[in-house]
């Protein structure tokens, strides 16, 4: 454990300072970090899986706390926990099969074994796997354990070989399997673009007019794939203020020979009546089918709904978040620097600080994300195919085990700055009275942002936004 701590700390710092952003990068790096955590983990003699899961959970808490907005971190942590459980069960099952004895396992599964002592090992393992997930309709109705084929190859990666019942080899095998499975997960994160873009030709027809906002790598790959299949279509790219990533996407599309028109964000409503389909990326997909997406997306979705234009969200499975959003516009949002919108110096001459009692006249709001409710989404395209918003909760249940969902709530009270912690954001820390007026001005600008976090994090976050700004003490 101590070996990985520097790595963890480094990544936590990166997350806090927003040096690493974007679901893909975050997910990938999280998975890599967790893999090294697993490989560094010293396996005990008993309860290996639980110990490993605890270690992962401990690291995961730190990571999530570092940037609660990056839901991909939590997703990957949960995925890894799920992998550990599955590997544990499958190795247990293999053990049963090989030795024909009642395998020792976590106390968690003892009850299962007690309940069904006579069942064959395969059924037992399948049942245990089922137990990891939310109960399906079938099991609820029939109340019999049905062995379902595992959709993911990762979980069954290691069970074919290694039938030894030897304890030490078994512990090594568990670790090895988990590492391999995490490797598969990383591969999956990397290849999700290919799998999503394979479906492009099924959705884009000749002479289609597509609108997108900002830049998403998934959308780019999706459109590239359609272009490679000799589809000719036209793309309207809304530039996506204040980051203007749409310009980047437009450049990439133009280089590929796609007919691209750059429009301002305000012209989305004007143009959407001539658009056949809206294809956008997402930051995260929530369990209710809602989407956390770059700011401005809700406006696009509403306009699309008005003109009955399909609103399609393309996203890799690492963006599937098992949480249900509560007040996501505020709690799952982040306010960025006002300098994106206004230059700091620009309005200094019309601010009168002397008369104001700590409430400056001018506030600048620059949120990062938007929440698109599920009713506005027509279709999700993930690497497992197209799904409707109402199905997302079920799809999510495939990837996560139910008892990991509340991962965040189990964190110790010291790190209560969580996304699901409180419906209302806690009040921001009272700024020191002696601060210069500029500071209070900036603080005020960030009050919304700061109120999402508390304590030290806020100042860290503040400093991360203003690397050159020195807080007066």
């Amino acid at each position: 454990m101590p070996d990985v701590q520097p790595l963890v700390r480094e990544f936590v710092l990166k997350l806090k300072r927003r040096k690493v952003e974007g679901s893909h990068a975050v997910a990938r790096q999280t998975a890599e970090l967790l893999r090294s955590v697993v490989s560094q983990h010293r396996m005990g003699s008993t309860n290996q899986a639980a110990a490993l899961a605890d270690a992962i959970r401990g690291v995961g808490e730190q990571l999530i706390a570092a940037n609660p907005i990056e839901l991909a971190v939590g997703n990957i942590v949960r995925r890894v926990l799920h992998i550990i459980k599955e590997e544990d069960i499958s190795s247990t099952a293999v053990g049963i099969e090989g030795l024909s004895v009642t395998a020792e396992s976590d106390d968690e599964y003892d009850s299962e074994n007690d309940d069904h002592p006579t069942l064959s090992a395969a059924v037992l393992a399948a049942h245990a796997r089922n137990a990891l997930r939310a109960p399906s309709l079938q099991t609820l109705l029939e109340d019999i354990p049905v062995s379902t084929a595992l959709s993911r190859s990762a979980s069954s990666a290691g069970d074919s070989d290694g039938k030894s019942g030897d304890k030490s080899s078994k512990s090594r095998k568990l670790k090895h399997d988990v590492i391999a499975a995490i490797g598969d997960l990383i591969d999956e994160i990397d290849t999700c673009y290919d799998q999503i873009s394979e479906q492009a030709v099924e959705h884009i027809h000749q002479n289609e007019v597509i609108l997108t906002l900002g830049r998403s790598r998934t959308v780019k790959e999706f459109l590239y794939a359609a272009k490679e299949k000799k589809r000719s279509f036209r793309v309207f790219v809304a530039e996506g203020a204040p980051r203007y990533q749409g310009h980047v996407l437009a450049k990439e599309l133009v280089e590929k020979g796609v007919q691209t028109t750059v429009i301002t964000d305000s012209a989305v409503f004007a143009m959407i009546s001539r658009v056949n389909m809206v294809i956008v990326g997402a930051h995260a997909i929530m369990a209710n089918g809602g989407v956390i997406a770059p700011v401005g997306m809700n406006m696009v979705a509403l306009a699309a709904q008005r003109h009955a234009v399909p609103f399609v969200v393309v996203a890799g499975s690492h963006k599937l978040c098992p949480l249900y959003p509560h007040n996501p516009e505020v709690l799952l949002n982040e306010l960025k620097s006002p300098s994106d919108l206004l230059d700091f110096g620009e309005f200094s001459n019309c601010m009168n600080f002397s008369t104001q009692d700590g409430t400056p006249l001018l506030n600048v709001v620059n949120p990062t994300f938007d929440y698109v409710p599920p009713k506005l989404v027509s279709l999700f395209i993930t690497d497992t195919g197209g799904h409707s918003p109402s199905y997302m909760y079920r799809l999510i249940a495939e990837y996560y085990s139910a008892d990991d969902l509340a991962l965040i709530l189990s964190i110790s009270p010291s790190s209560s700055r969580t996304k699901a912690a409180s419906p209302r954001p806690s009040p921001s820390p009272a700024p020191e009275k002696e601060e210069m007026s500029l500071t209070s001005f900036l603080r005020r600008l960030y009050s919304k942002n700061l109120s999402l976090h508390s304590g030290r994090l806020s100042s860290t976050c503040f400093l991360s936004l203003f690397p050159n700004f020195i807080l007066p003490n």
């Binding site: 406006m299 019309c350 006249l361 600048v364």
Partner: protein, 597 residues
Amino acid sequence: MDLRRPPRSSSGGVEPKIRQVGFVTPDVSSEPPAPAVPAAAAAAAQPAASSAGSPPASDLSPGSLSPVMIPPPRHADHLAPGSPSPAASASELGDDESWSRAPSAAELEANKGDLAEIRNDNVSASIPQKQKTSKAERRAIQEAQRAAKAAAKETGLSGKSAGTVSGANPAMSKQAKSSKASQKKDVPQAASTAASEKKVTERPPERDRKKDAPHPRMQFDDVHRVEKAKKRAIVNQSEARNRVELFRHLPQYVHGTQLPGLESKFFQLEPMHPSVYKVGLQYLSGEVSGGNGRCIAMLLAFKEAIKDYSTPPKKNLSRDLTAKISSYVSFLIECRPLSISMGNAIRFLKNRIAKLPLTLSESEAKSSLQSDIDRFINEKIVVADKVIVSHAITKVRDNDVLLTYGSSSVVEMILDHAHELGRKFRVIVVDSRPKLEGQGLLRRLVEKGINCTYTHINAISYIMHEVTRVFLGASSILSNGTVYSRVGTASVAMVAHAFGIPVLVCCEAYKFHERVQLDSICANELGDPDIILKVPGKADLGHLKNMADNENLQLLNLTYDATPSDYVSMIITDYGMLPPTSVPVIVREYRKEQLWI
């Protein structure tokens, strides 16, 4: 107009046939020919006509416009009772106390029914003199007019329409023909002059009627017409690159600025008045923008031009000046496409010129036109804004959070006034690229000490949770209730609608137009596409810098969009606060009046 007609037709006893002929003009407009064509037509046709022509002519009060021609300015009555002269009303406007209640009092309550009554009262008040003319006299007048008209047609000015006229009313045309025959024999010279007068004075009603259906705009994908227009153009237009296919029918934004070229032409452009020229350049450079600002600048320039105008020898003031104004207008169009409000103002001015009584001397005509322009600016823009503010202020309460988009002069006045009244409210200024007009508004509001929040249009869903009211300005309101405004307004209204926040659109009634529009594509204005590439303060965003000439890349900078009427809760105008469904009523009831003030 229907409301106005019945009392007259019943009491005046005008034969329905006569109105059928096609001069379906309100009482007032069918009358002017009499004073306006005083001796010429009347004397030429029949002796009876001369006696008929005199009573209206006697109504002409010296120094002012004919009361017969102009219905008593309803606005002036309401706004400044007892002080019909523009100067007097202007002085009253200066008084802050009076404008906030006096002008609104009458109009606030003026529902359609009330208005109709008021109108009828006014009409009947102005009509008695006319009704003194006996039926025979009126008949004589009509016949005289008809005769002159027919003569004009016969002389080949417009043979086709003469045919339709005679076809429509054979009985009248017979008489007309007979009179025409005598006319031709007797005084052909007089007839032709009469015809020319006729053309000026009689045409406008016809034109008006045609305007009921707005004529189609110039479609810029029509190669033929574009070529023609180019030949006439003063500003040389260079072809825009990479046009967006959907918008080929619109005038493309001219690549690069033609300012230097135009400046060098300053002394060559003989027919252009310098003040018009200046305004054109200001449009071109974007120095003057905003519906009201542009309209006022144009009108003031026209006023200057009229002041310096002198009728060339052997020419008629009203005809020549109309042509002059038209050439100015086409120059301004080349600088920047007209807004709908400007179109309305031009229509008003041309109407005024056409309606000038011939008895006026040149200087009198000019001064009357200048005062007309002043009055238009005053009543339709300045006072209208104040009335709108007095209405809208009732919708601002303490602890409100008001959202506005871009920079609208009326909304700014509302916010200022609410602040002056000591209301405690917060303003959210939403802005968008590329114009970033909201920053100017934000600066002015913050300087006045109003608590403001500034954000960009993408964050509208985030900020809308806090908002209690949305105040929007408009470039124009079309008669299907569509609000034609700065691009992005539709998005703001849509999100507000989705959140259940009331959307109040503030717009002066002179900006209303009878045109209808469903989308933002059929009619729009294209801005400079290259501005899209440049993000101020973001030097690192040079992604598209070298791509501008790539044939796959198009840049689209729309200026306006159309907000569907169902997103609009209420329209605040100088006639009161109304739902968007009532826009056609306003357009219909007040359009004529707008032209006359």
